[in-house]
Structure formats: C-alpha cells, structure tokens
Symmetry: C2
Subunit: 395 residues, 2 copies
C-alpha cells in the first residue's frame, strides 16, 4: 500500500539588520559577496516568517508549490530552485545510506509561509523567508547539517538569508572558494551575550521603490571607483573592530562602526553610475535627530543604519530607552507601532525634544508612517503550529 | 608737495564651476589641495564680481578697507591678509628696483566690490571675489606677473579663486611643494576653443545652510576611508580624461566625467563622520530629470554637477538648447531668470516633458526658486568703470 502520510515540519525565522553591510556580489549566481558582513538578528516576537514545509505522495499536481501570505508564489526562479535542489540532494544521500527511511526526496513539496510584518513596510523579508524555507525543509528531511552548513544553502536564495539561521550577533565570512563552499554564516555571539540591544525601526514612506538590491549591487561593482577601497580595506578592518565591540559589549564602538558603515555603503551607491539613492530627506533628518540625541547625551547612545531603502533602524541599549525611544514616542506617539507591549512600556520623553532641531524633528514626524520596536533575538525556532493541516491543505 | 593722487584700477572677474571637484586640503593655511581640479569659467554677462582697488596718501584712517555690495567687510582674516601681503611685497620689489615709481606699497588700500549675482542664490562668490581682488590690486600696482603667477596668490584667499583668473577651461595643478609654489592654475583651453558650452543653474532653496566647505573638507580628509582612493587614483585618472575630452570637444566624455566626479565628491561627503549632505531631494530629482533627458535623446546631451549646496548646474551644448533648457523652460518658465536675453531666446519644449517622471518634474518645479542661464566665458577683464570716484569715495 502506498504511503499517503502528509509529512510536515514548521519553523519560524527572524529578520536581521546588518551593521556591517553586504553590498556587492563577486558571483551573482552563487550570491558570493565582495566583502564579509555582520548583523543583529531581531526578535521574532516582532518580525518573523512562519513556514511549514510538507511533502506527500498524495499531492496533485505532483509539483513543488509555495504559498506566501495566502498568495501562490512563482518558485521557478533559479534561487529558490538552487535551495530546493541542495536540500533534496542532502535528503537523497540520507535515503541512499538508510534504505528504511521514507523516500521524501522525490516527493513534491507544498510549502506555506506567513510573515507577521506590517505589509508595505518596505522591510527586506527575503532574509527571513529563505532562512525559514531552508530550515523548515531541512527539518522535514531530518537533515543533520549545522546552521553554518545550512547557511551555504540559504545564501543561494538570498545572500543575507544566511545570517538569519542564527540568533544574536552573526557574521557572514565572504570566503574565497569559487564554488562558495567557504562563504558561510557563523555566530559572533548569541543573543544572551548582549540581550540589552534594542532596535527602533522608523518606517519611511517612499514615493517610489528604489533600485533592487541585486541590480544596484551589480551597478556599484561595475562603476564605482570608491567601492574597491571599501571592499578591500574598509570592511575587513571594520569586521574585526565590530567583533571586538560585540565581545566587549562596547556600545559606543558598536554604534560608531554601525553609522560609519551605513554611510560608507550609501556613499558607494552614490558613486555608482547612474547614482543610486536609497536615503531621502526624511532619512537625512533621522540622522540629524540621532546625532542630536548623542550630542545631548554627551556620548553615543544611539546608532542609525539604513538598508536599501529610506527606513531608519536605530540601535540603542535598554538602559537608554527613555533617552532614545522615549524621544521618538514624544515626537510621534500617535503613529502605529507604539500600541504593542514594548511600545506601551516606553516612557515618553518630551524634555529631550528641546535638544532636537525642529526642522529635522518635523521632517521625521511627517515622513515616518509607522514604527517597529524590537530587540536582538533568537535564530529559527521549530514550532508545532503547522500552516498545513493533516489533510495536506493550508489552514 | 605730497602726492594726493587717488590711484585706481578696476576689473571684473568670473565665477567658475568645477567639473573635476576640489575637495580636501593638504595644507589648510596655504589652501593646498589633496587633488588637482578642473573647471569651466562662466560668462561675466551673467555672473561676475566688479572690483575697484585704490590707494592714496589721503585716506583716513590710514588702513585697508573693503566694501562689498555697500557693506564694510572684515578683512583681518588670514586669507585676505595673505593675499594683500603677497601683492604688496611684489609691488615693493618693483619700487625697490625703480626709485622713480610712486610709493604705493605702503599706502592704505580702499577696495570696493559689487556682485551682479542674485542675492541669496547660494552661489559660491568667493572664487570671483578673490580673483577680482587679486587682479584689481595687481593692476593697481602694475605687477608684471602672469595669471598663473597671480593664481598662487588668489589660491590663498579661496582655493577655487585661482581658477577664476582664466577664462574657458581651467585646470588647477595640486603641486607637491610644501610652500605651495607649484600649486597653480593653468589654461586647458580658452573659451573660444569650445564656445558652445552652456550652463543652466537651478537655484534650489535650502532650508538650512550646510556645513562650510572648509570645515567639510577637513572632516572628510580626517574621517572618510573612501576619500584617499578618490584623491590618489580616481581624480588623477579623470583629470587626464577630462583634458582630453575638452581638447577633442567630446561632450559625451565631458558629461560622463562631470557627473561621475560630482557623485564621487558627494559620496566622500556622505562617507564623512558625521555625514555631510549637500544635495537634497530636489537635487536628486534634478539628477533624475537630467538622466531622463539623456535617455530620451539616446545619448548624453546634459551633465549635472553639484557644489557644496543643493543647486544643480547643468552643462549642455548650444545645439541642444531646446532639448535641455527648453524642457526646463516648459516646466518652470514662470520662475525668475528666463526674462533676460538668453532666456527669451530659449524655445519652450513641452513635448520633451512626456519623457520625464512626473514626480521628479514636480519636485524640481516646486523646489527651484530661480534659474540662471549662462555659458562658458572669459577671464578677468580690466574696466574703466570705477567703483571709487576721483575723490576717493565709493560711487
């Protein structure tokens, strides 16, 4: 009799926001970067992808499918295919070695995902998405590979996804092998090493979607004369300093490096032909507010960083919550995002506003559509809350 | 009997806008740059400083004075003093060699200047100002020094002033001597070599004055890791290519280098700690409009460049006036600046607007306060229209 079991495994996976930026591919197919990078994994209470991977002989048509937020996705793209091919190949090896194992490698996969992100927040969801996909299928297949070994697979889906296989503070070693075998993520420190790290995300409404990361990276590598210096010297030096800052829980050094590296990345975008601008006047005003917070504190207690878009991510330590998040709550407490448990705990700090340039404050208040308050968090977590029922249908 | 003559000499001097940017001083006192630069001198019909230098035994109090647009200026700053000291020293040498010459070197100088710039346009007027001051005093003193030799003096007043001692296309060789003796301006080509060059300046109202050039340069040199690459390799290569483009009247190469170098300069500003932003969202939209003009033309017919502020300077050739200036006239013909002879000749080109992103067009229309239409022009010109009367009083 045929095996009609619906095999299922579910995981949640986090978003990560880099403090030493990944920008530039030396191999676009394998997603091999031109420099190493380092990120903070954010808490899944606030931002996560939840993915259930299933397979069954009963699925018809007998082909792989992916549903994201109830919408069927095209998975014929080379990146998703590369991930699924690698995972199947590892399962096949297990099955070849153990003839008693169910033959899952040849079955069609039905994968269902949901993000808890606010829609249209312009948050890069591909890192959490590919990390969850790889982790869920690896669990479904019972693969023994470590997160670092799985990071090699997730990287082919989306470069920064490799860092979302770990919690806490995560490095991505660029490697040097042509086949990408040594381009892997590793844990710099777990979340509990420095759990006081907080992140306030200012979601900025962009008039227009910017250049895609992939297209932008290729253009920068091809045309920026300043980019080589960043990849060859600036980032390698900063990687070492940043690891040290994290090991020593030295927030001032962490913050200084974070801001410099964000600026350096955006500088190489501007040095691209034609120039790429991800930050806008609202982003610039957010920088001015952070600089003013630090000036008023007499030391660096807040650090901004910007990915390939206008949103500001502001890192700070729990002990400075009133000075940093409290200021933004006083400025824009009416925005969506403060109503959650974390946001309600933040003490409004109207007094701090006296140190802020009113034009910068007004531009931020006007241009930010919502906020997300979060913290450093854990890596992917296996869950038994499946998004596919025992009947094989999405629930 | 004492000589009561009012000795007078007058000159006008032009503004220049760099296409290979000066940014970074290796010696802030002598204004010695970290890289060579190259500019286009703009026509004095549109932008000029008019300066009359006078001296007399009759002036009381017996001290140097400077009146700019009817306002007394503080000339005790080291830069103005360095210029006046150098000029006096050259005059003194002449007097020592020729005892019959009037003894002017020891007399107080009364200098009167007027700019024909629209006030508050945010145009760097120091280049024209120091070039006019040096040229006028040199003429008053009958100095035999060439413009290149005088450029060494003007450079100490304001770096880019050295390039305003020439018309047309002007280089500033950074030099290597510690005393600045070989950091001099030279003519790459006179205006008549390529007289078809036009410049449209979009004057953008800035909410706030940015960081001063001098302070910004020092911060960039001190903190940007990308800056060294620009100064050591990027600019030297571009200087050669730009001189070739000008010699060959190759507008596409000229434009490509101009835009890349403006972006590179602003990239190093962004890579500064804290970051320096001179361009704003209106500037970015002006770039988008120029890119769209070139895309629609199928070749590069317009080149943007930005100095230390949000104003866009757009270079183009006379033959493309309708395609470039005509588009901006169609977009914002109601702005101040089109009413002059040059502006009236420009044919409005509404059809070209169909190729422009409406949001970029709207941002430019909204953010530009006035335009200036000009062209490549001549160097300083001796004039007999004195701003000081025969009685020694400003007229």
């Amino acid at each position: 009799m045929a095996d009609t079991t619906i095999y299922r495994a579910s995981t949640t996976a986090p978003v990560n926001i880099a403090v030493i930026k990944y920008w530039g591919k030396r191999d676009p197919t394998l997603n091999l970067p031109t420099n190493s990078s380092l990120s903070v994994t954010l808490s899944q209470s606030d931002l996560r992808t939840h993915t259930t991977a299933t397979c069954s002989t009963t699925y018809s048509p007998a082909e792989d499918t992916l549903l994201l937020n109830s919408q069927p996705q095209d998975i014929s793209n080379p990146r998703t295919q590369a991930c699924l091919r690698s995972l199947r190949s590892l399962r096949q090896s297990l099955e070849d070695a153990s003839p008693n194992l169910p033959r899952l490698a040849s079955l069609p996969l039905r994968i269902v995902s949901e993000n808890n992100f606010p829609t249209a927040a312009g948050l890069a969801s591909s890192a959490a998405g590919f990390a969850a996909l790889v982790r869920a299928v690896a669990d479904l297949y019972g693969l023994p590979q470590s997160p670092t070994e799985l990071s090699r697979i997730a990287r082919q889906g989306s470069g920064s996804a490799c860092r979302s296989l770990f919690g806490g503070y995560v490095g991505w070693e660029m490697g040097s092998a042509a086949d990408g075998s040594d381009s892997l993520a590793y844990s710099v420190a777990p979340a509990e090493h420095w759990p006081q790290m907080r992140a306030l995300i200012l979601v900025v409404s962009a008039a227009k979607k910017g250049v895609s990361s992939t297209a932008g990276m290729q253009a920068t590598v091809a045309t920026s004369t300043l980019f080589k210096e960043r990849a060859a010297h600036t980032v390698p030096a900063r990687m070492k300093e940043m690891e040290k800052a994290i090991q020593e829980r030295d927030f001032e050094a962490f913050a200084d490096l974070t801001m410099r590296d964000s600026n350096s990345f955006h500088a190489t975008c501007l040095d691209t032909t034609p120039p790429i601008f991800y930050m806008n006047d609202v982003s610039r005003s957010a920088i001015a507010v952070v600089n003013a917070i630090n000036a008023a504190a007499g030391k660096t207690i807040a650090a901004y960083t910007f990915d390939a878009g206008p949103n500001a991510v502001i890192y700070y330590l729990e002990e400075n919550e009133t000075a940093v998040a409290g200021l933004f709550k006083a400025l824009m407490g009416e925005k969506e995002g403060w109503e959650g448990e974390r946001g309600q705990k933040v003490e409004e700090n109207k007094m701090a506003l006296v140190d802020i340039d009113v034009r910068a404050a007004a531009a931020v208040k006007e241009g930010v559509s919502r906020i997300i308050l979060t913290s450093v968090g854990e890596g992917p977590i296996s869950v038994t809350n499946h998004l596919v029922g025992e009947d094989g249908e999405p629930v």
